[in-house]
Symmetry: C2
Subunit: 351 residues, 2 copies
Amino acid sequence: MSSKKDIDNNFAAIEPGERRGAPGLSDIARLTGVSKMTVSRVLRGGTGFSEETAQRVLSEARRLGYVPSRLASAFAADRASTLVGVCVPRLTSGLFGNVLDGLDRALSRLGFQMMIGCSNHSQPEEEEWVRHIVSWRPAGVILAGRSHSIGTVQMLSTSGIPVVEMWDLTTSPIDLSVGFSHYDCGVEMARFALQKGRRRAAYLGAHSRSDVMGQSRLEGFAAALEEAGHPLVETEILEDAPSFYAGFYGLEILLARQPALDLVYFHNDEMAIGGLAFCQSRGLRVPEDIGIVGWGGMEAASILPKRLTTTVVPTTGLGKQAAQALVARIRGEPTRRVIAVRTKLIEGETI
Amino acid sequence: MSSKKDIDNNFAAIEPGERRGAPGLSDIARLTGVSKMTVSRVLRGGTGFSEETAQRVLSEARRLGYVPSRLASAFAADRASTLVGVCVPRLTSGLFGNVLDGLDRALSRLGFQMMIGCSNHSQPEEEEWVRHIVSWRPAGVILAGRSHSIGTVQMLSTSGIPVVEMWDLTTSPIDLSVGFSHYDCGVEMARFALQKGRRRAAYLGAHSRSDVMGQSRLEGFAAALEEAGHPLVETEILEDAPSFYAGFYGLEILLARQPALDLVYFHNDEMAIGGLAFCQSRGLRVPEDIGIVGWGGMEAASILPKRLTTTVVPTTGLGKQAAQALVARIRGEPTRRVIAVRTKLIEGETI
DNA sequence: TGCACTTACGTTACCGGTAAACCTAACTTG
DNA sequence: CAAGTTAGGTTTACCGGTAACGTAAGTGCA
C-alpha cells in the first residue's frame, strides 16, 4: 500500500553519513582499531592493555565527547546500581527541603543519583510512585514516614530493594528506619515547660491530610503533663494547613475559650511564629504573660528578635544518616535496622 | 590456584530453585505458554492476540507481581524516554521548593520522572551533574539559571537532549528558556515607589556565591530611578547570605550612613522582613517613616501583620510552564524558544 | 474452489556495555 | 628446550524489552 511506503520513506530520511546518536564504545573501538572490550577496560581503569592503546582510546573518547550510557550498564547489571529513589510528602516544606539537601550531598558524594517523587501525603500517590521507581530497578529507596499502603510494602519487600523509612521512627521497618520519636519530642517539651514553672498549658495543632505525626507529639506532651499532675488545659486542632496564619487565628480561638493559659505548644514553628505575632498584636507579653513554644526548628525561628523555644530536628543530618545507612545496606555492610537521630530542645526567649 | 576456587564457590552459592531477580516477560511467557512478544503486546495494550490469551497473561502477570523494567525498555529505545533531569542551585530554598513542586506535578501527570540534582550555585558542580544526567540519556533536562560552563553547554548541545533553562530569562537559550526578567522586576518596583512619592531610595543586597540575579534587579531599579530624576541614594551589598539577619543588621548599617531614606529595596523578602523587624526595634514607623519593599513573594510575607510590598514570583506556575514547554519539545510539538512568565508586584502595607 | 485478507500468534535481531572464556605471541624458568 | 606464565588482547553470550518481519489457520467473497 502507498501509505506504508510513505511511512517507510519517512523513516529512511536519516542521512547515511550523519551520526544517529551519542557515540558508543563501538565507535571508539572502530576508530582506534581495537575491540569494544578493550575500550571498556581502558575507560573503566582495568588492566590488560598497553599504555599506548590506553592513550589512543582515551584521546579518541575525549575527541568524540563520549559519555557512557548508564542505561546500558545498569541494564546489563540488571539493576540501576547508582540510582536511589526518594519520596517525600511535600516538596515545598522547609524541613523536607533540608532533608533532601542532606540526602543529595551524601548520595552524590557516594556516587549515587536521586530520583525524587512527592506523595502529597497520600498513600495511593506514594504507591504509584513506588511502582514507577521499582520499574527503574534502583539500588535503594528512601521513603518518608512509616505508614504505607499494603501494595507499597509488598512491592518493596518482594523486589528485594534496600529501603530506608525516614523521619519518624518505626521499630518494625520494611527494611531500615532512620528517624526520631515525635512522642518523645512532646514529652521533652512538656517536662521543660513544667521545669520552667508552667502549669496551664494548651496545645494548638492543625492537620493537613494525613499528617499524624503532630498527633504523636500531642500525645507525648499530654501524657507527660498528666503524669506531673498538671494536665493539658485546652487542645485545639484546626482543620487547616499548619501555617503562620493558622497559628495567629488559632491562638485567638484558644484564648477566647480559655484566657488563663501560661503556655501554648504549637504544631510547628510557623504556627508558633503566627502565635507570637498574635500576642504582639494584642499586647500580650511573651514570655511573661504567656509562653510560646513550637516544633521543627525553622530557620527563621532562630533569628527572630525573640528567639523561639522549639525542638530542632536535625534535618540535614537526618538526610545524611539515611543516605549512609542506605548505602551501607546496598553494599552489604552490616547495618542497624533502626537508627535514632537526636532532636534538640532549644531554649529560646519565649518561655 | 586455591583462592580462585574459593571465589568460584562463593559465587556459586545461589540456590538453584530460587528466583534470582524480578520476574520478566519471559517468565510470564513460559508460564502461560505463549511467546515473550505476545506477552509484551498484551501488557502494553496492543493488538494481535485473543481475549483468552490476554486474560491468561494478565492474571499471571498479576500473580507474579510483574513490574516492567524501564531500564530495559529505555535501553532498547536508546533513551530514557520518561526521565527528566532537573538541577537547581539549592534544595533548601523556599522558592525553588515551589518550583520543584510545580515541575513534579506537571511532569508526573504527563508520565515523566524527575531526577534531581543540586548545583550549590557552582558551575563545576552543575557540569558534574550534567555529565551524570546525560549518561542516563534522559528525555529532557531542566536547568535553573542562564549561565553555565562551556562544558555544560557543549554536552547538552551535542547530545541533542531538549533543555529548558528556567528562572531568569535569556534571549539566547541553549534550547528553550522559561522565566522572567529580574531587571524588569527592579524597574517595576522603582516606578511603583516613585508613584507612591518615594524620592530617596536605597538598595540592600547580599550576594551568596554567584547569585547574580539580585544584581539585575538592582540595575533595573537604579536605572528607572535615575531616569525619573531621583537616583538611588545609597547601595549596600553585604558579603553574607541573604537572610532575615542580614536584612536586620544591613538596614542598621544603611541608616547609619544615610538616615534620610524613605525607601529601602531589599534583595529578597527574608531580608525585608529582617528590615521590618529592625524598624520595629527602633521605633521607626513603616510605611510612614520609611518604606520597606522586598522581592520573591515568600509565603510568610503575605501573612505578616503588616503585609510586605513585594514582587511575587509565580514559582509553582513557572515549574509547570517549564515542564509543559519541555514536554512539548520532547514530543516534537512546535514551541516558543523563550517563554516569559509574569511576576506580580503586590502592594502591601509597607510603602 | 481458490485467492486475498485478517487474526493471532512466533522468530529474529538489536540496543550498549560487561562478564567470562578464549586466544596468541613473547618471555621465563627449571 | 619444553612447559608454564604473562601481557595484551579478541570473541561470545547475555541483560529484558521491542521493532520488524514471518507464518499458519481461519474467513469472506467472486
